[in-house]
Subunit: 339 residues, 2 copies
């Protein structure tokens, strides 16, 4: 296939390092011509873009688990698309693929980190959520670091979010009692009715300490933290002996404009001989395939439910859509569908 | 042997729960008659009392790894003494023993937790320090939780203290690069010259961040924390990938009168896939004997140096002596010798 001569690629590039919540001026819309891929490369027509809390961290110029997005660079994002042209031996025109294609309409790739996805086996957005990096984060963070045992209590924050909702369901599959924390009555209803949590705590309406005492009477054996801040502190105060705290993220902290206090209850780790461990899903890349296959099986037999919050728009909708993650507006995996 | 009829026992009892640093009025001196031990018990004439930062925690009415000392109760303390009278089958008059005898001149015990010590093998204060709970804390905290590997960098805070000075030496024995943090030039000199640390950081005189960058150029693989606060935060910022943080204590926090911020750099655990784990030495009781024997061997062949700071006095000197731990006045194991 030949790429049409007049095809253009709209991209969202990082224009400035945000201070606090990203503002419109932190982004730049750039339009480029699309050209035939060179030898060894493929051209992808992007259809679905993943929106993740971690993106906010990638925008800061600090040492982290991956380099920051440079000023003037296309914003980094996982995405799904269709191969439009290929001079790469592993990918054929028309195939659907996942890759780190960025916030743009067309991406050229050398194939590294690109995986084929099957649109007949699951809806495309699911490959960004439960069957993608998000689901794998839940899987490895919970099972490898949290090490939940049947009958134990697993507490999850950001429980209505993309990662949290999967963590709760996997914990339930493993025979645990699951308690989710989310903001608002509607999210809490979903936790119990859709994701099967044994109990839900609305941190906006309830006293956290009282609620955790009530719902985790024997303490918390595994705490999976997506949010940090006061919720992490309240969970630390409720740890059971030998508890494992999984630090997956800290969405409540990502847009802070000044240094924020850490978890003042960290000495609960000592009192309870507990551990707090950070995880980055990329470390488990050699086991992605096995884990994704297991989760696909759970999805197929209905033991795991995937929920995506798909926003329809074009790439120019990205900056505003991203903010939904930080206002608590979305449930499940936030995806921008651009065609 | 019969107990002399007019023998009295002076005791330091907890009179009130301290707010901040313990004040004289938080203690009460009580004098009781000493009587013959009942069947199954032994009477110990206490000679050396262990002073430990953890004592401050035992004085608070909060849930912790052991119950608080009750108001009116003899202050809990590990101690060494000589058996003065025995109706216990395992202990004979004249033997030297370690036990949780409390801050008093004479103690009656049912033998639980009491161990014989050999005054010919090591000085008695050493059985409260390197060959006692203090040394065991260093041993299990470093080796079991820190898991140091040859060539790795081990950073220790409170490094001139009873636990820290042993941690540094064991890490060195295991082939690690050791960096100690202490307050003042004299302590730092001791770290290098007496305890064999590769480098010492004077937190009172140096910029911690700069000093850690200089002395831990490849990051910190194991951080053994005795102090908490700003030093913990600085260490977190310098972790190497996969680092282990051992939370042994937080002496900088024990006398705080208001809630204090936790380690704001805790997200370094995520960036570096690191863990932070609390330890309580009592969990390793079934391995005390093996560990103490190994450390006695290291002491005997000169590979481990034990330093005790022995204060001469009587039990009434206890309240004031305890404060030396929190003012940074002592080096090594603080012991009150009462006869």
């Amino acid at each position: 296939m030949t790429v049409p001569a007049d095809l253009t690629n709209r991209q969202i590039r990082l224009a400035a390092r945000p201070f606090g919540l990203p503002k419109p001026g932190d982004w730049e819309l750039v339009t480029e011509a699309v050209t035939e891929p060179e030898d060894g490369r493929l051209l992808v027509e992007v259809s679905h873009i993943s929106l993740d809390p971690a993106m906010r961290g990638w925008m800061n110029d600090v040492r982290s688990y991956i380099p920051p997005v440079r000023i003037g660079e296309v914003m980094r994002a996982g995405a799904i698309g269709r191969v439009l042209a290929s001079r790469h031996r592993d990918f054929a025109v028309g195939e659907h693929v996942y890759g780190e294609f960025g916030v743009q309409e067309y991406a050229v790739s050398d194939g590294r980190g690109v995986r084929r996805v099957d649109p007949d086996a699951a809806p495309l957005p699911t490959y960004l959520g439960t069957l993608g990096i998000t689901g794998l984060t839940a899987y490895f963070g919970l099972l490898d670091i949290g090490d939940p045992q049947p009958g134990q209590t697993v507490l999850v924050s950001g429980a209505a979010g993309a990662v949290g909702s999967v963590v709760g369901q996997i914990a339930k599959l493993k025979g645990c009692r699951t308690v989710g924390i989310a903001g608002g009555a509607e999210k809490c209803r979903l936790l119990v009715e859709e994701f099967g949590f044994d109990a839900a705590v609305d941190y906006k309406a309830e006293d956290l300490k009282d609620a955790l005492r009530k719902h985790c009477p024997d303490g918390v054996d595994v705490y999976f933290d997506n949010v940090g801040g006061d919720i992490l502190d309240a969970a630390l105060a409720r740890l059971a002996r030998g508890a494992r705290v999984v630090i997956c993220g800290a969405i409540s902290q990502y847009n802070n404009t000044e240094p924020t206090p850490g978890p003042s209850n960290y000495l609960s780790l000592l009192v309870n001989r507990a551990s707090m461990t950070g995880m980055v899903v990329f470390d488990y890349a050699d086991r992605y395939a096995v884990a994704a296959a297991e989760m696909a099986g759970w999805l197929a037999d209905g033991r795991l439910r995937s929920r995506e919050d798909v926003v329809e728009g074009d790439v120019t909708a990205f900056p505003e859509t991203l903010l939904r993650l930080f206002s608590g507006a979305n449930v499940g995996k936030l995806v921008l569908r651009i065609r």
